[in-house]
Amino acid sequence: MAYLPHTKEQEKAMLATIGVSSSEELFRDIPPELRLARPLALSPGLSEKTAWEQIGALAEKNRHTGRLISFLGAGAYEHYQPKAVKHILARSEFYTAYTPYQPEISQGTLQAVFEYQTMICELTGMDAANASLYDGATALAEAALMAAEATRRKVILVSPLLHPEYRQTLETYLHGRGIRIAEIPWEKGVTQPAEAEKLLNHEVAGVLLQNPNFLGSIEELAPFAQAAHKAGALLVVSVDPVSLGLLADPGQCGADIVVGEGQSMGLPLSLGGPYLGFMGVKEKYLRRMPGRIVGKTTDRLGREGFVLTLQAREQHIRREKASSNICSNEALCALSATVYLALLGPQGLREVGNQCLQKGHYAKKCLSTLPGVTVPFGCPSFTEFVVKTQEAPVLLNQRLLSGGILGGLDLGRFYPELKNHILLCVTEMRSKEEIDQLVRIWGEKA
């Protein structure tokens, strides 16, 4: 199969119209020494049926979370996606369209993005949001660049309890720009505002936090906002949007830029992507925001509609002076999140948040009763929490896996000081029975 429509006769007619005798002649402008003289060393094409069987077999080689009971989170979360979401996403008028450059035939995408921007603003307490960025990590990096540009300062203060991969991405993005990263000390599961205050000075562009942080603890944002603003710096917070039906919105706590990973809004885990970076900002920073933005306007007959707007920030207009180089974003993932939020509504989102909170705490409490297991941090947590074990996490997780359970993340991988600490995640997907099962198998040998 190759999805090619021409018959031999049609091809002949087309070549005649062009005025060449073979399609080979159309490649005569490629110098002979640059022509590939052999066929591509790839497998031959297959029928759809055979291809489907092969790909199905490859998928079967994986053990997926539909068949395992997962307690893994750490930046990628299993939440319930109402069935209707996938049906909307399967509308090919949405998924086979390009970026909505022609508003007259793109009002569907444009209006959906406008609704998405509104929902992100509502959740985060920000004034404006963009149409999406690649993921939570790059959204954070873009926010740090924005803070540096807005303040014309060259130091970024970072909580070590930001997702380690986000911090690594931040380093990569800031490396070529001469912006220095300094870490704020943490203690007892949370970042210390008093320590941030000590580090804040006239060189600091922004303070970057995550809430709930990578250890699952809820950070108290307001003191950071006060300290940052006193020093003329911005507060940037990376949030889990699913927590925001329940947890104080960062805008209310004084954040200037709110970013995060939207995957938790029911997007499939998909081995880490495609996910959804989102960004909301206070009005003051609106024109520094990277990425596409949709605005409302009217047509020449006065009818209301939507367009891509403020494009003077973007690469296709401004080239090297653009606020970012981003072009393609994660539009379909943003649509997925929009439909998810519309289906859940405010009560549904709060319910998801509350179930995460309660189940997380229930699991934490049950595990803490096991011999050799302790809960090192006493601060309030959301859907994730840390336990310390005597058993090596690798061995524990192997034991759990043979019982059909995907255990938590071995924190020693990212934090040498947290050897034998495990980060567990319990969302609304897990029943009490499954949590009890985790505790039972965990306790069998430990």
């Binding site: 070549l15 996938k86 009002q107 569907g108 609704e115 405010p346 989102l349 189940k359 309030p380």
Partner: protein
């Protein structure tokens, strides 16, 4: 607005329940401290599932995709997106994998990634490929960062300039700027190729790289490429390939053989994954062997010793991470499926027909429009309404009138070096009948331009909204819904 905003349909108290009741007994439930708790309620809509489904179904009907009709958007390769690709990505064995699962439980996925890397390396003539970048521009960023890391590793820190032709995609200069580089723009020669003299003048000890698309954004193969590569390499700089136009050359020529050191590939263009209304895409980057140590972390590879695929994080020279986890895996699954179905022969046939379709359509349109660059073109070409200039009709008018005839307009006013450009990329999946009908529509539009130019100035006529006031939108931005009582 043809469809009200979803917020205005909300009815307080209306809801659906998707979850079973909380099964944690009440005595064991906890409450949050006051400072952590949200005080207000976010104004999300309150609706039934049917309300929501109808709303977004109607919105979809206001949209135009490849499945709706011909979409000849230049440089975007809007080819047909086979349905098997979507189903493959939705297989639970791929869609329900957590990125931190132990690798022994994701061997099928890692094998898929390793095989995709290998196939892309073969197609591009490169030695190693990373699948991490989430889009083409992200691939550019990754590629230029690697080039900078390579120069730095040799202690060569003077190289801060990136050269781009004036016909380049806007992402090229924007990427170089994001990497802290200075941009040097060089003019095109009258044939639309690189001006070699201008290049020789600027290429030097401070040049980090030249970023080039080949075929160029004019749809022309840059046949001086070997000389360009020689000039750039002699200056000690590297050559970067913007793979947006890869659909023209698969199986015919390879960037690696042309002298390119770094390549990015758009899976959402050449490899038939859908554009999603703007994303997600995927922008794998291929490199020559000497740049392999600089690839972003982790690298997916087969470990002979263990007899399994691994995610290799121990890479001291790596530029680091460019995003969380391992790239847009779901998009990679779709491209892998496409590669499996097409095979090497199928890909070459795709490029052949893409070029055939472009040349055929250019021949047809040459009768009624100005063709600034004679063929053969590659996968795309430029026409302009210069020959009907006296009618007062502009490219924008032609593009908008095409909408009335049921087509998505081509890319317009790009590349910037051609006045009033219409950049047309038909792709290989379109039939002769479609191309003929499209050419007839454009022919008719050129006659309308002479007979009734007002018809074009006011186009489109048959859409839910006509031309939008973009100036007003930018002057006083309305970027979100607010309740009327505010």
């Amino acid at each position: 607005m043809k469809e009200q905003l979803i917020f205005t349909k909300s009815v307080a108290g209306r809801k659906e329940g998707y979850l079973p009741p909380l099964d944690i007994p009440e005595p064991q439930q906890v409450s949050l401290p006051d400072w952590a708790r949200r005080k207000d309620t976010p104004r999300l809509p309150e609706l039934t599932e049917m309300d929501v489904v109808r709303h977004y179904t109607r919105l979809s009907q206001l949209n135009y995709g490849v499945d709706s009709g011909f979409y000849p958007l230049g440089s975007c390769t809007m080819k047909y997106n086979p349905k098997i690709n979507e189903d493959a990505a939705n297989l639970p064995g791929f869609a329900q994998l957590h990125p931190y699962q132990p690798v022994e439980t994701t061997q099928g996925a890692l094998q898929l990634m390793a095989e995709t890397q290998k196939a892309l390396a073969e197609i591009a003539g490169m030695d190693a490929v990373t699948l991490q970048p989430a889009a083409g521009a992200h691939g550019e960023l990754t590629g230029i960062m690697m080039i900078m890391a390579y120069h730095a590793s040799r202690g060569d820190r003077r190289r801060t300039k990136v050269i781009v032709p004036d016909s380049s995609h806007g992402t090229n200069p924007a990427t170089a700027a994001l990497c802290g580089c200075e941009i040097v723009q060089i003019p095109s020669n009258p044939d639309g190729g690189v001006d070699l003299e201008a290049l020789k003048k600027v290429a030097g000890m401070d040049t980090a790289a030249l970023m080039l698309t080949n075929p160029s954004t004019l749809g022309l193969f840059e046949n001086q490429i070997s000389e360009i590569a020689r000039i750039i390499h002699q200056a000690g700089a590297l050559l970067y390939y913007d793979g947006a136009n890869m659909n023209a050359i698969m199986g015919y020529a390879r960037p690696g053989d042309m002298g390119f050191d770094v390549v990015h590939i758009n899976l959402h263009k050449t490899f038939a994954t859908p554009h999603g209304g703007g994303g997600p895409g995927s922008g794998p980057v291929g490199v020559k062997a000497f740049l392999e140590p600089f690839l972003p972390k982790p690298v997916v590879r087969y470990e002979m010793q263990d007899g399994r695929y691994i995610l290799d994080d121990r890479r001291p020279l790596s530029i680091g991470k460019v995003k969380a986890f391992y790239g847009n895996f779901g998009v990679v699954v779709k491209a892998y499926t496409y590669l499996t179905v097409m095979g090497g022969d199928g890909l070459k046939a795709a490029s052949e027909k893409a070029v055939l379709n472009a040349n055929y359509l250019m021949s047809l349109l040459g009768r009624d429009y100005h063709v600034p660059f004679a063929g053969p073109c590659k996968h795309e070409f430029i026409v302009t309404p210069k020959n009907i200039k006296e009618t007062g009709v502009h490219t924008m008018d032609v593009a908008k009138r095409l909408i009335d005839y049921g087509y998505h307009p081509p890319t317009i006013y790009f590349p910037l070096i051609v006045e009033e450009a219409l950049m047309i990329e038909p792709t290989e999946t379109e039939s002769k009948e479609t191309l003929d009908a499209f050419a007839r529509a454009l022919c008719k539009i050129s006659r309308e331009a002479k007979d009734d130019p007002g018809l074009l100035h006011e186009a489109p006529h048959n859409t839910p909204v006509s031309r939008m006031d973009e100036t007003a939108a930018a002057r006083k931005p309305v970027l979100r819904w607010v309740p009327y009582y505010e």
